[in-house]
């Protein structure tokens, strides 16, 4: 299993993600620096959370213009698996690797808290094939701009073609606050057309210990990695 974490100036969840991956594979992932123009063949690249380039202009916008992005696009076209978490998801969108937009949370407040994700009925994807539709995962979020929006056309495309990976789940009828950012249709993560790229706002790497945050994130990452290796 060859994994790498891409690091931009301002990334701040790179170490956390590396710890999680090492816990699963026993090996630290390679570090890719945003200026790297060459990268070896990899099975999985993860773009971690953080505030790349201070989130200035638009979240992910400046990172999406970094030299490494070309590499990442090549990796994707070779069929490599790619996971963008939080700011990583924002970067994937700005780099046009995933469609739609992520805008300010509806309440205009940064939000750090637990959420419940429901696995959707999706296309074949190494990230989800070990889960059943309707499975729930408790994974925390921490972001300011996780409000996913898309026009009608795109939304239909995503909903109808199994490209929505996770939605925030309402745990009871009266719960009003289950969606932390006001995203369209409660979308928490989406897939590329071929299912091998996943962008998600919640942080699975922050849910790898029974003492804090639970272990659903670990379960998710472990199963994803198993599937990617095939």
């Amino acid at each position: 299993m060859r994994t790498a974490v891409a690091i931009f100036p301002g990334s701040n969840c790179d170490r956390d993600m590396a710890v999680a991956i090492k816990k699963i594979t026993g090996k630290s992932p390679l570090k890719l620096w945003h200026k790297d123009t060459e990268a070896p063949n990899l099975d999985l690249i993860v773009i971690p959370g953080g505030f790349s380039f201070g989130d200035y202009l638009r979240c992910g916008a400046l990172a999406a213009r970094s030299p490494i992005i070309k590499n990442i696009k090549n990796h994707v076209s070779r069929g490599g698996a790619l996971l963008g978490v939080c700011n990583g998801f924002q970067i994937l969108i700005e780099a046009n690797i995933l469609p739609g937009s992520l805008v300010r949370n509806k309440k205009l407040l940064f939000t750090c808290r637990e959420t419940t994700l429901e696995v959707q009925d999706s296309i074949q994807s190494p990230f989800l094939s070990s889960f059943n539709t309707g499975d729930c995962l408790n994974i925390p979020v921490a972001h300011n701009e996780g409000n996913y929006i898309a026009n009608n056309e795109l939304l239909k495309e995503l909903e109808n073609n199994g490209r929505i990976a996770f939605k925030y789940k309402k745990s009871s009828e009266i719960e009003t606050d289950y969606n932390p950012n006001g995203s369209l249709n409660d979308i928490a993560g989406i897939l590329s057309e071929n299912g091998r790229v996943l962008g998600m706002m919640p942080h699975p790497e922050r849910s790898i210990s029974s003492l804090h945050g639970g272990t659903d994130g670990l379960k998710f990452l472990t199963k994803s990695i198993e599937q990617i290796v095939g």
Binding site: L57, R58, A61, L62, R65, E94, G100, S101, V103, R104, N105, K106, L108, N147, I149, N151, G182
Partner: protein
């Protein structure tokens, strides 16, 4: 030449910030206004003397970086020194 780029959300795109400002203004007692929209402004100097050339370059910057053309519109104005 000094250039101003005004970037606004496309019509129909949710503007949570505009909504919040709208609410607060109403809480403060204002009510004879509507249609608040928020946007960004980027002002810079482009070291060219030909207006067309300046506009062309600014436009390229917008397309390449400054604007998210999926959800944003933009308009470039040349600011004449007074």
């Amino acid at each position: 030449m000094k250039v101003e780029v005004n970037i606004s959300l496309k019509e129909g795109v949710l503007d949570p910030e505009g909504q919040a400002i709208d609410n607060t203004l109403r809480n403060l007692g204002y009510n004879n206004f509507d249609n608040i929209r928020t946007g960004k402004q980027i002002i810079l100097n482009i070291d060219e003397t030909d207006e067309n050339e300046v506009l062309k370059q600014a436009d390229k910057m917008c397309q390449e970086l400054l604007v998210n053309i999926v959800i944003e519109n933009y308009q470039i104005n040349i600011i004449k020194d007074k």
